[in-house]
Amino acid sequence: MGRLNQLAINDEGFIFDPLTGESFTVNRTGLFIIKKLKENKSEEEILEDMLNEFNVSKDIAEKDLIDFIQKLKSYGLV
């Protein structure tokens, strides 16, 4: 999970990376996914969790999850 485990994350969605000094803000769904990633859950498991947690179709959730993980990669967080 790369840098993800080093991050300081609060419940309001503020993320601080002590190694680089960078800060991020994340919304509720983003925070939900990051927490699952920190628990080392697979993408399939996270998708399942998203469908149980939120009122969203599988198509949209799957697409958004892939997109969000790509965004995390672009920041070097995963």
Binding site: E22, V26, T29, F32, L65, L72, Y75
Partner: protein, 450 residues
Amino acid sequence: MKKIYEKPVITKVETGFMNKFGESPLYHRKIRKDIDGVSIEELVSRFGSPLFVISEKQLRNKYRTIYNAFASRYPNVQFGWSYKTNYLKAVCAVLHQEGALAEVVSGFEYEKARKLGIEGKDIIFNGPHKKLEDLEIAIREGAKIHIDHFDEILDVEKIAERLGKTVKVAIRLNMDAGIKPQWSRFGFNLETGQALDAVKRIAQSSWLILNGLHAHIGTFILDPNAYAKEVEKMVKFAYEVEDNFGFKIEYIDIGGGIPSKNKLKGTYLPPDISVPPIDDYAEKITEALYSNLRPGDFPKLILETGRAIVDEAEYLITTVFASKRLPDGRKAYICDAGVNLLFTAFWYKFNVEIDREVYGVNEPSVLYGPLCMNIDIIDDGILLPPLERGTRLIFSPVGAYNNTQWMQFIEYRPNVVMIMEDRTVEVVREKEDLTDIERRERLPEKLKLL
């Protein structure tokens, strides 16, 4: 109960990212649900997407505002509608109804104006490439001929002689109006004496009478002082011509080039701040007239304002077809309209509005068109919230030069509609199909596959 879903978004916190207007770029978005009271949804469901939408009301209002800015300051004003800016019949007809002459720059445009019902005498024929047959028709029909080069002086003279008709002509001038780039390719240069040489040659002819001066100093001119300089030089030259050659200069045509509220790429300030109000232009131009004209002399002032009149009266509705994440982390959207329809996207950064409320933080995004071409980018750096497939984006202003410079390339060109003043919607150019594209093609017999 399950929680309400919001697309996952993560944004890096960067300082110094606020703009000088104190607005957070992370949540700012522009929403447009209708045009002139007709909903975007209704327009698309009836006429498809992409869709060009022209507002008759906004077109007329703009014309009247700009015309009145000049007519309220100077007693002899005439507008010429620049066909090349937008020559859809409906657009031209609205502006002719408002009182504009037709300003054309080719035989094709001349034909278009005539077919619409404009008499030759109400057509200004500009342009560097007037074919002899087109020139002859225009001369026969009494159009205002604006001569661009020496070859054309001779062309007009020969045609006039053949027709046995004395022809009134104007010459086109180019000059240093204090702005860069200096447009020097149209007409005769003032400072080098070339313009005077042209007048001398016209004066020697027994078939030509010089009665007008024309100049077009550039495009998207943000400095009204350039027009003041242009007017001053033109009026002084008019008197030089009148005093030395006995011609009467009946009109001074100062061309176009007045900007719309569009944003040139590379400019920082929004157009509401960077583009001076039309009254500033009218004030400078008429002030320059009054300071240089002799008492009691009011030659006709002709303006060929194109962009400033039509640009803001037209919108393009597009639909988000797909999205992807670029390797650099930016979000990319593929829209159903690209540079094939928005040729001016190469120079202008359009105002982009969304047809619905969208939750989520803005992120740097790129808008691609539908073409399988790397250059098909409508906006390469825009902050947008996460958009669902099917979201409509409304681009504006797109009235100038897109419906004339668009390309039938890879995709068909879509419907163009006009929202009339009574809010009814008329198709003013039907979307294309294969017959439009293949009508002129011929397949040699031996190549036929069917």
